[in-house]
């Protein structure tokens, strides 16, 4: 038996936002006569406004840590290479590499600071007064 189709009909207003779970385009949908706001992507991931906020916060943190990782790795790699270059008398190359390693280490610290300073909004019940229409 074929699996049932869970894909949403593509009604709703396409946004410029992407789905945190698959990177597809998200559409904004207005449900019911009170105007409950939900987001749905092409393959069927769905979010309330609050859930999308949480997912985007997690996505942001993941990507910031990815940047920290890239910078930490660059620092380590360049540091090792600079050491080898020094040992082999390639002093100009060694100096360049050490400069870039130091830069990467500093950038990593900056982004760690950003992660530590980020504060998600506290989602309370007032979020349900948000409507599609109005200012």
């Amino acid at each position: 038996m074929a699996p049932p189709d869970q894909t949403p009909e593509m009604r709703g207003q396409p946004t410029r936002l992407t789905c945190p779970d698959c990177s597809g385009v998200l559409s904004l949908r207005v449900e019911g006569f009170k105007g409950y706001l939900t987001f749905a992507c092409r393959v069927g991931h769905r979010y309330s406004v609050a859930e999308l906020l949480i997912a985007k916060e997690e996505q942001l943190e993941y990507r910031l840590w990815s940047a920290v990782l890239a910078l930490d790795e660059m620092n380590e790699l360049l540091g090792d290479l600079a050491e080898k270059a020094t040992g082999q008398g390639l002093s100009a190359t060694a100096a360049q590499m050490q400069d870039r390693a130091t830069q990467a280490a500093a950038a990593g610290q900056t982004i760690r600071g950003l992660i530590a300073a980020n504060r998600a909004v506290q989602v309370g019940e007032e979020i349900h007064r948000l409507r599609a229409a109005g200012p």
Partner: protein, 219 residues
């Protein structure tokens, strides 16, 4: 008055999250042995662990409780619990399980059950949201209402985690806000195609969340 039209509402779909175990334990214990309806429920759960909830419920319920297999026919007098890591849908008289896209960041989620029941069973459906945090189930209840079904929520004052019922009240035109005991009586009446008169307002405390929807009475 709910169901003045005397339609037999024999597909009962129930959703819950945090605090839902206690709520569903109390609710199923109040279902009569001859309940002329199929009951399907989703509780948010870990995708990794089997649950002892069906066996706990079987000790209290007069109706058999089980996690269905894909393609099992929907039968009256049975209670279906959504298995781990799959959405549970009602489709053309069958229970369908699918590992589809997560909704509300969870699977099983309540909305797919409610939406599929609304699409295939229309006004035979009663949607019920019990205790829970978060927003799953609200869009599903709206879909059930749009298909001429009935939507009921647990009284937030009674629910251990009131957010889900409160959100439903704020966002949907729910037919009644009821305690577990009244929910059991309502489900019994609706399944039998009888009207149900919600208890007098005095039983119900003020409903948080109603301030955001002027002009709507929850009766």
């Amino acid at each position: 008055m709910i169901n003045a039209e005397r339609i037999a509402r024999d597909v009962i779909c129930i959703g819950m999250s945090a605090g839902g175990v206690e709520a569903i334990m109390r609710l199923v214990a109040l279902f009569p042995q001859d309940l002329p309806a199929a009951v399907a429920f989703v509780i948010h759960r870990s995708p990794l662990h089997e649950s002892n909830l069906p066996s706990l419920l079987n000790r209290r319920s007069r109706l058999p409780v089980s996690e269905p297999v894909d393609g099992e026919p929907v039968a009256r007098g049975r209670i279906y619990a959504a298995p781990r890591d799959q959405h549970m849908l009602v489709d053309d008289g069958l229970i369908r399980l699918c590992r589809g896209a997560k909704e509300h960041r969870t699977r099983p989620a309540i909305d797919p059950l409610f939406r599929s029941a609304a699409a295939t069973c229309g006004r035979r459906v009663v949607g019920v949201l019990l205790s829970g945090a978060g927003d799953d189930g609200v869009a599903g209840l709206i879909a059930i209402k749009a298909a001429a079904g009935v939507s009921l929520v647990q009284d937030p004052a009674e629910a251990r985690h009131p957010t889900m019922p409160r959100t439903a009240i704020a966002e949907d035109d729910v037919d009644a806000v009821l305690t577990i005991e009244s929910l059991a009586r309502a489900i019994r009446a609706l399944a039998a195609g009888e009207p149900f008169e919600p208890p007098a307002r005095s039983e119900q405390r003020p409903l948080p969340g109603r301030g955001s929807c002027p002009g709507r009475e929850v009766s």
